[in-house]
Each structure stands twice: as structure tokens, then as C-alpha cells.
Subunit: 131 residues, 2 copies
DNA sequence: ACTTGACCTTCCAGTGACTGGAACCCTTAT
DNA sequence: ATAAGGGTTCCAGTCACTGGAAGGTCAAGT
């Protein structure tokens, strides 16, 4: 299977597949006629795994770990769960930071008239001119 | 005032201040004795504004807009509010995406024993082997 | 006077995870 | 024969810094 077809089948853009190969996340693809990359069903499967893990917020480095675990039939499910739980914590921290930002901005906008006059508490606050 | 002092006073690292200058977010600083950058109270004020805006999640490009608005005494508060409200929407979208990831991972971890055995529903799911 | 250490300078490279684009090759259908 | 639509490589750009090298400057202590 050519890279384009793999891209549509897995949702991973061709460019990204080549990128994954270049950084060693996936092994170098087999080549047909000395130029085109050729992919097997196993490759497809791997790419889908990667795609899904990336969607869940795992970094490429983490996906590498997960892939290794996936391939290792003697793995401990513990190892996988540790990574997943750590990711939840990380996501929660990001959400908390975003919530804080949102609250602050919302608070600011609540006091801004948003009309054609120049007076603006948002700018005043950013400038440190607390009223 | 030297760049180091400005850094401690504003919370913006010296390196970052130079970077801001290099990308034109702040004007080139005055120089003392033909080498050290020298900052005024106005510069401090601007850097604090930038710092706070960045903390709230505004991109450097957006901070540039906000700075221009701040300096423009004939601005309309509308313009500022539009930027702020758009940022809230953006943050909400990010939060929603993170919540989705979190829910998915939490769901997966709930079914993983996390012990020394290899069986792991997390990997099964990533691989697309839905049970 | 000399040295030490803290500060400053510039410039280049690296981060993460792609993405765009140029320049070129290959295949297939018309 | 040619055009469209694949594929290939490699380099540069994104965003917002950050690290590090190599060197200049300054104030204080010996």
C-alpha cells in the first residue's frame, strides 16, 4: 500500500508518516521499485495505534513507550497504567491553568463596556492600574 | 536600569526581553556606554503589561494588538473586548478537548488491572481491539 | 594592579510535532 | 505525447522561547 492510501486509511497525513519514520517512531518502510514506500497491514495497525494515542494527548516519546509495551508480550499492565495515570494528572494541570486564565479574562470582560469609548478596564488591569 | 534588574522586577527573563526586542514586540532599548541595554520606568510598565497578558494566554501577536490598543488613546473598548472574548472561546475549546482526552483515558484506566500481568485494555483499545 | 565573579553582549542551535514548499521522479489514462 | 495525480528528498518555517558558547564590562576585594 502506498503512503497516500495509508494516510486516508489511518488519518495520519503522509507528511506526518514520513516524519514519524524520520524520528524513528516507526521503522523505515519497505520500498517498491526502489522509490515508493510500501506498507503492510501491520504498519497500518501501528499507525492507527499511534494516531489514537496522539489524539489522547500522549507525546511522541510517550507513544514510543506505549508502542514498546504493546509489542512486549511480557509487559506488566502496571507500566501502561502508570503512564496513563500520569497523563491524566498532566491534563488536569493544564485544564486548571486554562480555567484560571478563563476566569481572569471573564472577570475583566465583565467590567468592560465594549463600546466606542476608549475607557477599558481590561487594559487598565493588564497595565497594573488596579481600580 | 539594566536588563537583569528589569527581569527580576517584571518576572520576564532577560533572555525573553531580548527576544521580545528581536521580534519587535518592544522597541530597541536605549544603550549605555554603547553596550548595556538601559530601561526606563515606561519600559518596565510595558514589560509588566506583556507579562500579564502572556500569563492570561494571549499570544505574542495578540499582545502586540493589545499593546497598540493600550497606547492608542482613541481606541474603542469594543476592540479590546472582542479580543478578550475570542480568547475565552479559544480557551474553552482547549478545555473541552482536554476534558475529552481525560475522560477517554480515565475510562481506559478504569478497566486496567495495573498489575504484573501483561493483559492491558488500554493497549487493546489503542490498537483498536475493542472488546 | 590584579583578579574574581557577576553581569552584560552577540549569535547559533535546539525544543515539539509537524507543515509548506520547491524541485524532481513515476505511473496511468487519455 | 501529455497531463494529472501520485510519489521522492530536503530545507525552511511555525511558536515562544531557552541553552550555551565566546567574549566584553564593571565593581569590589586583596
Amino acid at each position: 500500500m502506498n503512503i497516500g492510501e495509508v494516510a486516508t486509511q489511518t488519518g495520519v497525513p503522509a507528511k506526518t508518516i514520513r516524519y514519524y519514520e524520520s524520528v524513528g517512531l516507526i521503522p523505515a518502510a519497505a520500498r517498491r521499485g526502489n522509490s515508493y514506500r510500501s506498507y503492510s497491514q501491520t504498519d497500518l495497525h501501528t499507525l492507527r495505534f499511534i494516531h489514537r494515542a496522539r489524539e489522547l494527548g500522549f507525546s511522541v516519546a510517550e507513544v514510543e513507550e506505549l508502542l514498546a509495551l504493546w509489542r512486549n508480550k511480557r509487559r506488566k499492565s502496571q507500566a501502561v497504567k502508570v503512564i496513563a495515570l500520569a497523563k491524566i494528572v498532566e491534563i488536569e494541570r493544564k485544564i486548571a491553568a486554562l480555567e484560571t486564565m478563563k476566569r481572569s479574562i471573564r472577570h475583566l470582560t465583565a467590567h468592560c463596556h465594549g463600546d466606542t469609548r476608549p475607557n477599558c478596564p481590561i487594559l487598565d488591569d493588564l497595565a497594573g492600574d488596579r481600580v
